[in-house]
Each structure stands twice: as C-alpha cells, then as structure tokens.
C-alpha cells in the first residue's frame, strides 16, 4: 500500500471515495476497494457501519443499517482488510464513530488498524479537547494520524490549532450539513473555500460533504487538494452494484 502522505505530496485534484463496509453484501468490502483501485481513485475512506451515525444523512444511514443487518462487525472488517493488505496499493483511511473504538478497546483497535496497513482515522465525533487530553498520546503511540474536520463556522484560531495537529489532511466540510446534502456549490461555499485556501495552512485540504459529481468535484479542487465523494457513490453502489463502480468513477476523473 502506498502511503497517504506521499500521495498527498505528489498529486493534486485527488479523488477519494467513501464507502460503507459490508454493503451492499457482506463480502463486498474487498471487491469495492479493488474496483476503486482499478478505477483510479487516489485514496479510499473505509466506513465502519454504525447504528447511530450522527453526522451522516439518509444514504449512509441506510447503507450502514443494511450492512449491520448483513452481519458486519469490526472483527469481520479487520479480517477483510487484512486479506487485501498485500494486494491493495491504494491508501485507506478508516472512518467510524468513537464508541466503536471505545467498546472494541482503544489499544486493540489501534493495533488492528496498524496491522491492516492503515495509519489514518476519521472520527467525526471526536472533539479536539478529547483528542488533546487523551487520544493524541494513544494515536502517537501507534503512529496513527487523526483527521480533523473544519466547517464554515470553525473559527480561524481553531483552524490554526487543527493545522498544527494535522499530519495528513484537513477535512473541509463543505457546508453546515450532514453527509449527502444535494445541489451545486453556492457562492457562500466558494467564499468559505477561498477563505480557507488563503490561510496558507501547512496541511493539505480535502473537501467533503455534498460532493457528488464531476462538476462539484472540480469546483472543490479549485480550492483544495482534492475532494471526497460518499453518498452519491453509495447510492450508485446500491443500484448498480460493484460492477457499476468504474462507470461511476470514470466521468469524474476524465
């Protein structure tokens, strides 16, 4: 597996795809990753299905429910990821909710993540103060990087602090919304992207939430190093299955 850091350094207009493990079928996790790699995606966000995903909209909620009904759990996910550790070259980022790590055992979770060749996690309900007081030391111990989210309402002072803590990229949440919000990128959002870009942060910027197609992807890339598509991809996956992945990705990166 290539390192996420090297990809972030080498390339611009990075396309990342979020998908839910174990969806639409339990054993689709590795197939989705393999198809995304073949389709030329730069890095992949591996979503851990959660019963109560507070930051997620209906599409990801629904895929999570179905995956849980398929019988997914963290042990199965780690087994699946372990099985492709050597074959997969595309960097993976793990995205889940804090309670999953807490219940699994924080050290055990971190060790498994590293064992799977992953070193970057996104935990949307891990606030900065908890990171500072507890998780920074834990993650440092295992060499894991935490990705922080910033939003249109995050203060500059806080953004500089986040920049300072960041070893990979800052997740720029495109609007005050949960995942899967629709529509074009507004002038207000552009102004926000410009404001962040002009802060000249040391970290790379990746935009997510509400990025759904070539147009929104390109717009985001004008102001950041890349963007993440989640709900739109999940929707397509639900309808067209793993075999439809290439047709979804091609027009975006063409």
């Amino acid at each position: 597996m290539k390192s996420l850091e090297s990809i972030l350094e080498e390339k611009d207009n990075l396309l990342s795809i979020y998908f839910t493990c174990g969806y639409p079928k339990l054993d689709d996790t590795t197939k989705v990753i393999s198809e995304l790699e073949k389709s030329g995606v730069d890095f992949i966000e591996v979503g851990l299905p959660y019963s109560d995903p507070l930051a997620d909209g209906p599409t990801i909620q629904d895929s999570s429910q179905k995956s849980l009904a398929n019988g997914i759990n963290l042990d199965i996910v780690f087994d699946q990821l372990m099985s492709i550790k050597d074959s997969n070259k595309t960097p993976l980022v793990l995205m889940g909710y804090l309670n999953q790590m807490l219940k699994y055992g924080e050290d055990k979770f971190c060790q498994k993540v590293i064992d799977c060749g992953i070193n970057t996690v996104i935990l949307p309900d891990l606030p900065m103060v908890e990171y500072e007081n507890h998780y920074k030391d834990l993650f440092d111990k295992y060499g894991i990087t935490n990705v922080f989210l910033i939003t249109p309402h995050t203060s500059e002072e806080r953004i500089y602090k986040i920049d300072n803590y960041t070893n990979s990229f800052i997740y720029v949440v495109a609007s005050a919304s949960i995942t899967g919000a629709k529509g074009e990128i507004s002038n207000n959002q552009i102004a926000y992207f410009e404001r962040i870009k002009n802060m000249n942060l040391k970290s790379k910027l990746i935009v997510g939430f509400g990025i759904s197609d070539k147009q929104t992807f390109n717009t985001a890339c004008n102001y950041a190093n890349g963007a993440i598509i989640g709900s739109a991809f999940i929707k397509n996956l639900g309808v067209n299955g793993v075999s439809g992945i290439k047709d979804f990705i091609s027009p975006i990166i063409s």
């Binding site: 959660y50 019963s51 109560d52 507070l54 930051a55 909209g57 209906p58 909620q61 429910q65 849980l68 759990n73 963290l74 042990d75 909710y97 804090l98 309670n99 999953q100 790590m101 807490l102 219940k103 699994y104 949307p124 309900d125 891990l126 606030p127 103060v129 908890e130 007081n133 922080f148 989210l149 910033i150 939003t151 309402h153 995050t154 203060s155 806080r158 949440v173 005050a176 919304s177 949960i178 919000a181």
Partner: protein, 405 residues
C-alpha cells in the same frame, strides 16, 4: 406561599457538579461533530451566567409560579403510608401545567434561548411529554417550534401529537433506525447540525455538556421546594429516602439535586426492567449497559460487543432510552444512589394501587418509582419522598387495556 429563591445554591462545589469539561467522574463531556462546536460553546459560555442572573431568576420563578402552578404540593399519602409502614410523601409534579415535571426545564430553556437571541426551537420527544411542554412554551413566547418524534411513537401517542400540533408545533417523524426516542434525538441533532441558528431544547439530563448540567439546574427546583416543604411538615429539611424513576433521568436529577451532598439521605433511582432485566426486553441501563458514547456524552449505555447501540424496551415510552444521563452514571458508579428496577407488570400494579387508595392516576414512568415500595424495608417512622413526576392521562389506553386482562 412564596418561592424561596435564595435557597438555590448554584455555585456549590461538589463532586456531583461537572468539571470544566463537563465530566462527572469519568462520565459526560461533549462528543460532538465539529459542526456543533460553536453552538455548544456559545451555550456553555453563557448558561450559568444567565441562570444565575436576577433577571432570569425573576422571570423563571414568576412563570413557574403563575403559569406552571408551582410550588407543587408535597402531599402526605396517608393510606399509602399505612400500607407500607412508612411516612410517604408524594412530590406532586403531576400537578404542573402540561402534566409533568418536563415544563420546569422547558420554561427555563426557552428563557435561555431568548437571552441568546434564538427564535427557532427544536426538541426531541418519546412519549410526547417533553414535546408538549416545548410546544407549550413556544406558543407562550411566540417562537417557531419543531419537534422530532419517532414514527412508531407518533402512532402510539396520537393525543400528544394532536396537542403539539394544536399548540402550533411542527411534528417531524423520525424514520431512521428503530423509529423511537433514540432516533428522534439523532434526527434532532442532525437537524441542528444543518440549522445551527436553532436552539436545541433537550428534554432530559442527556446530550453534550452543558446540556445535562443545564437541565439538572432547571429541574433542581423540585428538591429546592422539597427542602422547605419537608421542614414545614416534618421539622427537618431532609427525608430518609427519595425515590424517582430514571429514563434519561431529568426528574430524578431534580429530586436528588439539593440532596446529593447530604449523604444521610438515601437516593433511589428506579429503571424500567420491561419484561425483566434479563429477558432481552428491558431498559434497565445501569444493569445492562457499559461505558459508551451516546448523543454526545460518555455514559452507561446499552450496546452490543461492537459498540452498536441496542434498542431498549419498556411499556413506558418515557423510560425506553438506551443510555442514562452522565450524572446518573456517576451516581451509580460512585454508589451515591441505589439503582433498582421495576417490570412492566410491577409498574402497572403500582399505578392501579395508587389510583385506588390515593385517588391519583400516575404516569406509567412514575409508576415504576412507586413499584419499588413493596421491595423496600422501612424502619419505624422512615420519611420517604416519591417524586410523582407525571400524571397518567396519557397512559389511560394502556391502563384500560391491561385492567381488562
């Protein structure tokens, strides 16, 4: 009778008060997505100052007196006392406007929302009591109100849905997950993320800090009144025992609040055991839960081996919550409160008993608190206060159905 505001000791230093990060021992905190940070921070920076201000206290106490009907009576239940050989007092929160203790909190929070310049209010509700109490204060203040309610609960609690609509609230069905209180809360939080200008008027001592502490402070009026009422009736401010039911835990927090540091007072929290603690159909969180994070706070939580939140069950829609407020998790862990539980059947029995011998039809939630009376051994002249958190009008259908059986 006048309210004695001077008794409120909001600054008391106690291990039962949250620390600066909102922790009661290991429980609490604010585990929220970055999107909610500015909102929660604004509230955190202002809520104590607002609550302690004379302006707020004057308005709050005046509304509680003239609009809600406080102080609520502390009633000596003579026949119940005879039956259980103790001196049993009922704190009559059921006599509040809208029929439960919930309105103490909504009156307080609506005033806080106004001070923060918020005009749009959102709330979650299970059985509909908090939804009605929120819709009521929004009507009173002329504010826009949206209540999230599980699709299943909307079907089960039609009269309260109609009440909310009559009061001018918009009722939004939560169709995700199990379609009950947990999911209504998720939907309220998701809406809040997308509409950061709204004020989330949370209904219990749950959620991210400072919500649990804010709600506890606003419900503390219950034990504040108990102190001087007991003094008048028994000569002493302190009872031997206080009993309250716990779902999220707001009525218990209010009934315990001014007694938490007075260790001679026994505090009993009663959870809903549903069909039995180990039946797989239960909401006895302290017995079945483990440390976890729900709705922005670290607490005791019913979950599976992988941290997926488990759906609880109780006959009472107000107690079927998979978590418990962080203060209660701490009261449980530190053994300051004794946690007991009552099954559906025991709660129904207790409700019929109170109705027959005292002429009071309690809410199903409250009936759980009454249901532990047969399980307790009282010493001679033991003074027991039961927080009668709500009235049973909303549960008549259930009561009638089970009475026939």
């Amino acid at each position: 009778m006048k309210l004695k505001t001077s008794r409120t000791k909001y600054n008391m230093k106690s291990k039962f008060q949250p620390d600066k990060n909102g922790y009661f021992g290991q429980f609490g905190g604010a585990f929220i997505p970055e999107l909610l940070y500015p909102n929660v921070k604004e509230l955190e920076d202002n809520y104590i100052q607002i609550i302690e201000s004379k302006e707020f206290q004057d308005e709050y106490k005046s509304l509680l007196k003239d609009y809600v009907g406080r102080p609520t009576p502390l009633y000596y239940a003579k026949r119940l006392s005879e039956k259980y050989a103790a001196h049993i007092y009922l704190k009559r929160e059921d006599l509040n406007h809208t029929g439960a203790h919930k309105v103490n909190n909504t009156i307080g929070q609506i005033l806080i929302a106004q001070k923060l310049g918020k005009t749009k209010i959102i709330a979650e509700t299970g059985a509909g009591q908090h939804g009605v109490a929120t819709a009521t204060v929004c009507a009173l203040m002329g504010l826009d109100c949206t209540v999230f309610m599980g699709e299943k609960d909307i079907e089960r609690q039609a009269p309260n849905v109609a009440r909310m609509k009559m009061l001018g609230a918009k009722v939004v069905a939560a169709t995700s997950g199990s379609k009950t209180l947990k999911d209504a809360t998720n939907e309220a939080i998701r809406y809040w993320i997308q509409n950061p200008e709204t004020f989330y008027l949370i209904g219990s001592v749950v959620g991210p800090h400072p919500h649990p502490d804010m709600v506890a402070r606003l419900q503390a009026v219950i034990s504040e009144e108990m102190k001087w009422q007991l003094k008048e009736k028994t000569g002493k401010e302190n009872p031997d025992t206080i009993i309250a039911c716990v779902g999220g835990g707001s009525n218990a927090a209010g009934a315990f609040y001014h007694y938490m540091d007075e260790h001679e007072v026994e505090l009993i929290a009663v959870e809903a055991a549903g069909l039995g603690v180990n039946s797989g159909e239960s909401a006895a969180t302290s017995q079945l839960g483990e440390v976890g994070i729900i709705h922005g706070s670290k607490t005791i939580l019913m979950q599976d081996d992988y941290g997926q939140i488990v759906e609880p069950y109780s006959i009472s829609a107000g107690l079927d919550y998979p978590g418990v407020g962080p203060l209660h998790a701490f009261l449980y862990e530190s053994k300051r409160a004794k946690f007991m539980n009552a099954t559906d059947a025991e709660a129904l029995e207790a409700a019929y008993e109170l109705t027959k011998i005292e002429g009071i039809i309690p809410a199903l939630e409250t009936a759980h608190a009454l249901a532990v009376l047969p399980k307790l051994d009282f010493k001679e002249n033991q003074v027991v206060v039961i927080n009668l958190s709500g009235r049973g009008d909303k549960d008549l259908e259930t009561y009638i159905k089970h009475l026939k059986e």
